[in-house]
């Protein structure tokens, strides 16, 4: 299979390694590069400067996107800044390529319907890079909720805090897409995994409210903190999901807590531990993935994408899923700006 990687930043390079790891010699990989930054980034986000990634990975590099598409890749990985995702994806889809789009899908809703239409008409696989859905503990939590293990949900908290300058220590955070409005940045979009997980676990919310802003001394023109309230419903019972996101925390924190009538679930991502309290049974079960390693999520994600292309099946995170999460993110941004609840259709 032929893969074109559009954008060889850290996540683009990680996908090169994941594709190689999945298909070994059966993958023919090329990259389309516009910025031509010369550094190689490891799994641990350590950068080696002065090395061209295309040479390091032994892949072909195109300087023109049209030239790259005429190489006729089977699939295109869209790993450039968020604001360029949709235009890139539409061109790739028009060329008949399956598409993997890094999260978030986009920074606005323009051209989403055009992308959806092309993907549908050409029966392409389109997947969004919300790799947290492949985390074994989150998969476990999803299964518990589907089994109604803790009864009707009454509330949930999802919390994710990062230190933006530490996320990509090899680059000036002020230049990163995460810190720039023009590139589709801001904490709501960049740390949208929690919103995606909430949508995955609890379904799309009926309404969204958000507070936040640029609260830190970080030099950026986008929000660095957001407190989002999602009004959800399951089996006719309404409940609220609180999501906190920020770019200010040292050390990073990420956890999920869910309360149900018959129990509760708590999981701390960085401690890699949590528990499920099943009150009817009087049991406490441990949630942990002893063999968990971060790359495993990306490996499974890429493997799922390749399997879907081979079998023409729906990926775990489809274009529709990405659109649903994006709509929540954009509603949160609107609510943050206008102070009102945003009702979703």
């Amino acid at each position: 299979m032929k893969f074109l990687i559009c954008g060889l930043g850290s996540i683009g390079q990680r996908h090169v390694r994941m594709i190689r790891g999945t298909l070994n010699g059966d993958a023919d990989i090329a990259a389309y590069r516009s910025r031509n930054l010369d550094f190689v980034v490891s799994d641990g986000l350590e950068a080696t400067f002065g090395r061209k990634p295309e040479e390091y990975y032994g892949i072909r590099a195109f300087r023109s996107f049209q030239e790259a598409l005429s190489w006729k890749p089977d699939a295109v990985f869209v790993t450039n800044p968020t604001s360029m995702h949709i235009a890139t994806a539409i061109e790739a889809a028009k060329a008949g390529c399956h598409i993997f789009i890094e999260k978030p899908l986009a920074h606005d809703e323009r051209e989403l319907s055009e992308l959806s239409q092309i993907v549908s008409e050409k029966q392409l696989v389109c997947m969004i890079g919300y790799q947290l859905r492949y985390h074994p503990s989150y998969v476990h939590i999803k299964a518990l909720l589907e089994q109604n293990a803790i009864g009707p949900v009454t509330s949930a908290d999802l919390h994710c805090g990062e230190w933006l300058p530490g996320m990509h220590p090899y680059e000036d955070y002020r230049q990163s897409y995460a810190a720039r409005q023009d590139l589709g940045g801001g904490v709501i979009l960049c740390l949208s995994h929690e919103i995606d997980i909430a949508c995955w676990l609890f379904g799309p919310p009926r309404a969204v409210r958000a507070a936040g802003g640029n609260f830190s001394d970080l030099q950026m023109d986008v929000e660095d903190t957001a407190d989002i309230s999602l009004c959800c419903a399951r089996a006719g019972r309404e409940f609220e999901v609180l999501v906190h996101l920020d770019f200010i925390q040292k050390p990073a924190t990420r956890y999920i807590q869910i309360a149900g009538e018959n129990g509760s679930i708590a999981f701390d991502y960085h401690a890699n531990e949590g528990d499920v309290r099943l009150l009817r049974q009087g049991e406490t079960q441990r949630i942990a993935s002893d063999r968990f390693e971060r790359n495993g999520m990306f490996r499974q994600e890429v493997s799922n994408f390749i399997d879907c292309i081979k079998n023409r099946t729906r990926p775990r995170v489809s274009l529709e899923d990405g659109i649903a999460t994006l709509k929540i993110c954009l509603a949160a941004k609107r609510s943050l700006a206008n102070g009102k609840a945003e009702v979703l259709p």
């Binding site: 009454t154 509330s155 805090g161 409210r209 609260f215 309360a259 102070g339």
Partner: protein
């Protein structure tokens, strides 16, 4: 404060706890009396089980009054009000009018109606006032507040407070459906009943500018009051998320406060406080055997020994601030939008709810 006579108005579970603790602290010669409206709660032991062998009156040698008028005509120095929330106002106002100090169970009342008059009379008559926000006397919660206010974790970025409990299990000696907490006419609902978390946010960070709130009757029991509420308090530069729920079978209470240079976590079940700096190094304090009663004892001792006018001012601020948050939360529940928190209930000068400096 010289106290020779203490009047207890309302002797349900909360009232009897205060009675037991006040009896322990006050000198033997202090005369304790009571006005009981329903007299429905039997004598309770410290663990809230029923002691059938005695009456409350006999166990504590209480003088009993048949009316509030006769009770206040006796001239109590201090009145302890532990009636259902909606019944706080009348005895408090009568107490102040008679020149008695007031110790009231939280919340001050079901809303702030009459608060300004009460506040002004308390101050004009130099009367002692305290509201039972006993969690302010929890050693580890106090330590967490100190860490926030001294900048140990930098500037606040976010905070999450949550409390879950099961109102059906609160008072095993009575039918939970008759409990004030689930009855609107008695000032029930989780916002008022679990107001401690709102008070802690107020105590830690000051009064928020605005908030939004959602919630309602989310549990399986059909109640006339909200059993779950989730609030986002909006401050200049950060927000605080609070979940209060009293229809959950597992009791838990915790908070997580994030600052620019670290975070603070506390959990009641383990009674463990962890303060982590930005370098990842943690300091831990734990006291899993901490007796729940100790907060109430510390609170009563503080009130009965060495209470000052500044303490009364802070208690009035606590009473008003927490209810101002509830008032805005109720408006938000109706409007679905962000609602301003009314700061006019606070004092014109020297607001006790100081903001944490950025």
């Amino acid at each position: 404060m010289r106290i020779s006579k203490v009047l207890f108005v309302g002797l349900g579970g909360a009232g009897q706890r205060q009675l037991r603790i006040f009896r322990q602290i006050l000198p033997e010669e202090t005369v304790l009396s009571a006005y009981r409206h329903t007299r429905s709660t039997p004598l309770l032991r410290r663990d809230f089980t029923v002691d059938d062998w005695k009456t409350v009156e006999a166990a504590y040698r209480l003088r009993i009054f048949d009316s509030l008028e006769s009770a206040f005509a006796d001239g109590p120095d201090l009145t302890v009000v532990s009636t259902p929330t909606a019944c706080h106002r009348e005895p408090m106002m009568m107490a102040v009018a008679s020149g008695s100090g007031v110790f009231v169970e939280k919340p001050w009342a079901e809303n702030l109606e009459g608060f300004a008059t009460f506040r002004d009379q308390v101050r004009a008559r130099h009367l002692p006032f305290q509201i039972s926000f006993q969690r302010r006397f929890h050693p580890l919660i106090g330590r967490a507040r100190q860490a926030v206010r001294t900048g140990a974790i930098g500037r606040p970025v976010a905070a999450t407070f949550s409390v879950y409990s099961d109102v059906r299990m609160w008072h095993p000696y009575e039918d939970w459906r008759s409990l004030y907490a689930v009855r609107r006419e008695l000032g029930g609902g989780v916002l008022l009943t679990e107001i401690h978390e709102l008070d802690l946010a107020h105590w830690f960070f000051g009064l928020p500018d605005a908030l939004f709130c959602s919630g309602g009757n989310r549990g399986s029991e059909r109640l006339a009051v909200e059993d779950t509420a989730q609030l986002t308090l909006l401050y200049a530069g950060f927000s605080v998320q609070i979940t209060v729920c009293f229809m959950h079978r597992e009791t838990s209470r915790r908070f997580h406060i994030v600052g620019t240079d670290g975070d603070i976590r506390w959990d009641e079940a383990s009674n463990r406080l962890v303060v982590t700096g930005s370098d990842g190094r943690s300091g831990e304090h734990a006291d899993p055997a901490f007796p729940h009663d100790d907060m109430f004892v510390a609170q009563a001792q503080r009130f009965l020994k060495g209470w000052t006018a500044a303490d009364t001012l802070e208690a009035l601020t606590a009473a008003a601030g927490s209810l101002a948050i509830v008032d805005a939360a109720r408006r938000s529940l109706r409007s679905g939008g962000v609602e301003a928190v009314d700061h006019s209930v606070m004092f014109d000068r020297a607001p006790a709810a100081q903001r944490v400096s950025p």
